[in-house]
Point group: C2
Chain length 329, copies 2
């Protein structure tokens, strides 16, 4: 039920995921509305079920207020199905605060995690870059940033299959003395971390790919994520404007269109399909509110990878291993 074009886009993405990925899906929400969308697009069968619920959280609501005062909210019901083992993962394009809140309230946090965080995957020049947190938390404490570092490292190893990823703190200069109080204290903690800490990195490194895991407060990470989306869009608009100015340019563009398509796909956030919630006892993927059916489908693919690569279990093991080394708080 979540997102700017729900449930139409969500149902369409689910149908594509069913046929392309062969996955079993449960659609959680208003059965009447969902059936209407399915009627347009294809029939129900064993691989797509509907779990009806009567309420939802709107995009602009205060998350915790909405979750506390309603009994039958779709995002809570979805995570409850996960808790009871009826589904392996939850994908939502809804209110991201409500999605994180529902996951924490329903599934609970992994041991050693004070604040679950959202990981986003960016297309760097030399390979993918994981930015954590892209918006689950603001006013994050240094110790919590440190937990993001541990989770980001394990996540990158297990989902992206990168050995010994380089971990950096997002800052405004490379020296440990740079930045605000939060990151200066975090820098000292990170030196003792169970990962390959390479020091501070800067905004440009999110797209360089020299470092594979970048840790930041969710406020900064969310600005970075949305800035990147906005810039990619603006570049597209400017580019089309230029190309359409002359016939020769249009011809040239037509000849190199395959290159453009491939290039665009590289930059397209829909390919990555949402941000991944790390630190809860389950799997949650949060899509952009403005997601296309393709983005929904790809988020479902990411959820499958998350489950098949045992990311949650490896997070649990990694966090536990670190704690038994005498680092218990």
């Amino acid at each position: 039920m979540g997102g700017d074009h729900a449930p139409g886009v969500n149902v369409q993405g689910a149908l594509w995921a069913r046929s392309e990925l062969g996955v079993n899906l449960t659609l959680v929400g208003d059965e009447h509305l969902i059936r209407k969308e399915l009627g347009k697009n294809g029939k129900l069968n064993n691989s797509i079920r509907i779990h009806h619920c009567s309420q939802m959280v709107a995009m602009d609501e205060l998350p915790l207020k909405a979750l506390r005062h309603r009994k039958d909210v779709s995002i809570m019901v979805a995570f409850d199905l996960a808790r009871r083992g009826n589904v392996d993962a939850v994908v939502s394009a809804g209110n991201s605060g409500a999605t994180v809140g529902a996951a924490v309230l329903t599934l609970g946090r992994l041991k050693g995690v004070e604040r679950p965080a959202l990981a986003g995957i960016f297309p760097g020049a030399k390979g993918n870059v994981v930015l954590i947190d892209v918006g689950a938390n603001v006013d994050t404490k240094p110790r919590q940033l440190f937990e993001f570092g541990i989770m980001g490292d394990i996540f990158t190893r297990s989902l992206l299959n990168i050995d010994n990823p380089k971990v950096g703190i997002l800052n405004i200069g490379q020296e440990g003395s740079k930045g605000n109080e939060q990151v200066r204290i975090a820098h000292e903690l990170f030196k003792k971390g169970p990962f390959n800490f390479v020091g501070n990195v800067e905004g440009r490194d999110i797209f360089s790919g020299d470092v594979q895991v970048i840790v930041s407060d969710g406020f900064v990470g969310n600005v970075a994520l949305k800035l990147s989306e906005g810039m990619a869009e603006t570049i597209g608009v400017m580019f089309e404007r230029e190309i359409s100015r002359s016939l020769i340019s249009r011809l040239g563009f037509w000849l190199s269109r395959r290159a453009f398509e491939h290039f665009k796909r590289n930059l397209d956030y829909a390919e990555h399909g949402g941000a991944l919630l790390l630190g809860v006892k389950g799997v949650g993927i949060i899509c952009h509110g403005d997601s296309s059916p393709k983005a929904i489908k790809n988020a479902i693919r990411t959820a499958i990878d998350f489950v098949n690569n045992h990311v949650k279990e490896r997070l649990e093991e990694g966090l536990a291993a670190f704690q038994t080394k005498g680092n218990e708080r």
Copy 2:
């Protein structure tokens, strides 16, 4: 003397500015090194002078420490020339902390300004966007963000000739309740501001151009600035990689190359020539450490515009007008 390729690039940029912009320049730094560069590139005459000094601040030094313990540092000497009225503006590609520090120590702050800030100009789809602060301050207080709003508004009116610009706070959601403590409190202050406050904006708005002035803490603003630079570079690299894959693509690219050049120029940060220091009793432009001669030249052009449009005086007037309305702290 500042920047990664000093003084060569700085001298080259100055020579270009002299011939293209007809400006009188004073080069502040090691006379021997500067003369060597000038020998390569052209002769001294009345429109280019050298003011010798024996010391400088390196890119990786702690700014205040360096400024306090040396007597004859180029950036201090340059701002002292401005204070004495020998030059109208200072352009530096050096250590940005040292440049801000030297400006504040030498020129002093404008009345009503607790923290001078750096304004950056971004190429939005619907026109330029001013982001303030892009790195002069971290851990900014809400009241200081409010001052950035006043300065950003006046600056955008006077340098970019935009009437009644829309002013927004950079946040992670549009509602006033969103974000960290700093921006939530600032949101309430901004409602009473002497400018056209439109509420919170998000990372994507830095490139949309719907809002012309965006206020943020210098930590977030600096990450945004460097992220944009890095993304533009990465997009260029990915693009060339795609284009070079087939002969047809290369031919197509060749045919539409004019469009590409124009497009690239739009995105090129060198065109904007640096960040503008607002809130000191003088004019200071801070270029990227990695600036090209073109970027240095354009920063000099920006400095000329700043002076000719009386931005400093209009800031002074605007800040004073606001304070006499009974808003004195």
